[in-house]
């Protein structure tokens, strides 16, 4: 019996198909639309240039001071959301992220307080204090994440349960360590000299370090997910864990890595918070886990696993913060803020999903002979 040859797809159909560059184009669109809306309807105000004492009229939203604050407020959530996205891609969830942030901040705060102007180690050189504080925050965060990962892998319990438990444990440890006291009095080398370092740009005071760290973390996470072997393994585990296991992938080790990265990201966010606000207490980051997961999901991460990007997480966090900022700029009654934020999150996700569906249809149509 002669075997019929498979029909060959004419080359012209394939050549005409172009892969879209950004999966996050829908989110970018939402963000641009929000920005445009606030720039047009937010109004303007008169400010005095600090350098020239000249009074100038500026847009309320699209001005350096406002965008700088927006970036700073986004940085904590975005960095944690990038970490949480790693976990979500594998099909897990990290509910302890707010508590890890809190514990890392408290550990860092106790270290910094010791080297503060009135601490036992006052006068220590910046070259020791700053890297030491960074190490403490990042180390504490990564350790908490590592413990979460071990718990998920060794106990074979869903991450929801493990991280629900560790959320209480970490916050409890932070509480016992601080005895309900806020830790302040940090060395200025870490606050004003590092995280809160001010630059003057056209008469506006800007604090670019949180923004720079946020971009750095996102770029690294993007590269790691897209170009590293572990990155590919993370998507494989999230797409089909059983198949990954049978393919010989180190599934457990991949899981431990993603939880550790999530903890590390919370530690980085805690470090920024310490440097910028100059204090930490056991109630820091209360309720942040939901904001972080919301940012990751708005950013396109699928709670079923196998889907999500670092840039998406950043954009998700940014969209939520822009809405918060918009409520203030438009002078909307604060009592309605939660309703507005919730509604816009749902709308943003819906628009992104519609955009993705349309794109997939276009791709299918383009690939069809």
């Amino acid at each position: 019996m002669a075997i019929e040859p498979e029909p060959v797809v004419p080359l012209k159909h394939v050549v005409g198909f172009k892969r879209p560059r950004f999966k996050e184009s829908g989110l970018m669109g939402v963000l641009l639309a929000l920005g445009l809306f606030l720039s047009i309807f937010g109004g303007s105000l008169q400010v005095t240039n600090r350098d020239t004492s000249e009074v100038v009229k500026v847009n309320k939203f699209m001005r350096a001071d406002n965008l700088d604050k927006l970036a700073k407020n986004t940085s904590f959530f975005a960095i944690m959301a990038v970490g949480a996205t790693f976990v979500i891609i594998t099909g897990g969830i990290d509910l302890s992220v707010g508590a890890v942030y809190c514990l890392a901040a408290v550990c860092g705060a106790m270290f910094l307080n010791r080297f503060g102007p009135h601490g036992a180690g006052a006068g220590a050189p910046a070259i020791l204090v700053v890297p030491g504080a960074i190490l403490v925050c990042l180390g504490a965060g990564a350790l908490c994440g590592f413990i979460n990962g071990l718990g998920v892998v060794c106990l074979r319990v869903h991450s929801f349960v493990i991280t629900l438990g560790t959320m209480a444990i970490y916050r409890g440890i932070a509480f016992v360590m601080t005895k309900a006291q806020a830790y302040t009095d940090f060395p200025p080398q870490f606050t004003d000299g590092f995280v809160r370092r001010e630059i003057n740009w056209h008469g506006a005071s800007l604090y670019p370090v949180p923004l720079a760290i946020m971009i750095g973390v996102t770029v690294f996470a993007w590269w790691y997910l897209k170009h590293s072997v572990t990155g590919r393994q993370i998507f494989a585990v999230g797409g089909n864990e059983q198949a990954s296991l049978f393919s010989g992938l180190p599934v457990n080790w991949v899981k431990v890595k993603v939880y550790t990265f999530s903890g590390l990201a919370a530690g980085i966010a805690a470090m920024i918070m310490l440097g910028y606000y100059g204090s930490a207490s056991s109630d820091a980051g209360k309720g942040y886990e939901l904001d972080v997961i919301a940012a990751a999901v708005v950013g396109g991460a699928s709670l079923a696993g196998g889907r999500g990007t670092a840039l998406g997480a950043l954009l998700g966090a940014l969209i939520i913060q822009v809405i918060n900022n918009g409520i203030i700029i438009l002078n909307i009654d604060q009592n309605y803020s939660q309703i507005i934020i919730g509604a816009v999150i749902v709308l943003a996700v819906l628009l992104d999903r519609i955009n993705n569906t349309l794109r997939e249809r276009r791709m299918t149509r383009a690939a069809r002979p």
């Binding site: 105000l45 400010v47 309320k60 001071d65 406002n66 604050k69 927006l70 700073k72 407020n73 916050r171 409890g172 509480f175 005895k179 309900a180 006291q181 806020a182 302040t184 940090f186 606050t191 004003d192 809160r196 001010e198 918070m273 910028y276 606000y277 100059g278 204090s279 207490s281 056991s282 109630d283 820091a284 209360k286 309720g287 918060n324 900022n325 203030i328 700029i329 002078n331 009654d333 604060q334 009592n335 803020s337």
Partner: protein, 337 residues
């Protein structure tokens, strides 16, 4: 039957005996003393249920209660124990559970700061119906059967903060904002109402808005920074709650450019006065919350005396740059540092 089965059965029987014995023991502990020939009670237990463990003002109240329990106990020739039963975070439901548990434990009196008056009222009433004296401190449940309230007059506090801010701002047009904290907290709502009512007496002052946030220092500071950046014409903040001042983020504000009058005088807030970023603080008597709780409960339970005023308002003394040193000393004592 193998060794594991025998061990399991022995363990089960032993557990059952222990549980029965334990229940019996508990019953005998909770049982009220016989009214006729019972000896005079020499030991009393008062409980304090504050809003949140993580708020330092309540730690001061706790130490105030513990110190006063010793003093009052000596004076009256009895032993007064203080039980501290406060949820880790603001949670009215947890407070209700704690009150119910305390009543079961057989405490003589409870002093509670209500996270949410409506949720706490039935639990307070139930405790009172079961013979436990209940009072409120810091945050009241006015519709409940509590025998008195001790703390700040929140409405008056709002008036004072706004009046002082108006004085600090002086003549001319001014734009003022109010940080609101938790939208559901009755005491904060009363302060906001007081501040807004007072503002109507000053036609030169316009209120830009009430801005709510979590009562967490970093969140509150972020909100204030964001509002101030979006509205640079705001030149006064009537801080009916001063969570944002527990960070040092606003310390970099140019002293005197934006005038601030705020509640409380916690250690973290004092540098703001020294630097001149905050013009005046109004100190809630947090240590005295504990002191008065024990005094009022002892009067009611041990001496059978009702308070002269059901609303036992505490003072709200102003704190300026000159008082910073004294307050630093006070806090060392109040927090047992």
């Amino acid at each position: 039957m193998n060794i594991y089965h025998i061990a399991a059965r022995v363990t089960l029987i032993a557990s059952a005996i222990l549980i029965v014995a334990g229940c019996d023991q508990k019953k005998s502990e909770v049982a009220p003393p016989a009214s006729g020939g019972a000896a005079k009670k020499t030991e009393y237990t008062f409980a304090m249920v504050a809003k949140s463990q993580s708020n330092p003002v309540f730690q001061a109240a706790r130490f105030g209660a513990e110190d006063t329990a010793v003093e009052v106990g000596k004076k009256l020739g009895v032993k007064i124990n203080i039980l501290w039963r406060t949820p880790n975070e603001d949670d009215a439901q947890k407070q209700v559970e704690n009150i119910e548990q305390l009543v079961l434990q057989g405490v003589d009196g409870i002093s509670v700061s209500c996270s949410e008056a409506e949720t706490l009222t039935p639990a307070i009433n139930q405790a009172v119906d079961q013979g436990v004296a209940v009072m409120c401190f810091d945050s009241d449940a006015p519709a409940s059967k509590r025998f008195c309230y001790h703390g700040t007059d929140d409405n008056e506090c709002g008036h004072i903060i706004m009046r002082e801010l108006a004085a600090v701002l002086g003549p001319g047009k001014h734009v003022v904002a109010i940080p609101g904290g938790n939208q559901n907290a009755r005491n904060l709502q009363n302060r906001i109402k007081g501040a807004l009512d007072e503002a109507t007496n000053y036609p030169n002052i316009s209120i830009r808005g009430v801005y709510y946030s979590k009562e967490v220092p970093q969140d509150a500071a972020a909100k204030i920074e964001e509002v101030q950046t979006a509205n640079p014409d705001i030149d006064g903040w009537a801080m009916i709650g001063s969570w944002s001042l527990f960070t040092d983020a606003l310390l970099k504000w140019e002293p005197g450019k934006v005038k601030i009058v705020a509640m409380d005088a916690l250690p973290a807030e004092l540098p703001y006065l020294t630097k001149g970023v905050v013009q005046k603080l109004y100190a809630q008597q947090t240590y005295r919350w504990g002191v008065r709780s024990v005094e009022l409960l002892a009067d009611k339970v041990i001496l059978g005396k009702n308070p002269t005023n059901v609303m036992d308002y505490s003072e709200l003394p102003p704190v300026t740059k000159d008082d910073v040193q004294q307050y630093e000393q006070n806090w060392k004592k109040w927090l047992r540092e």
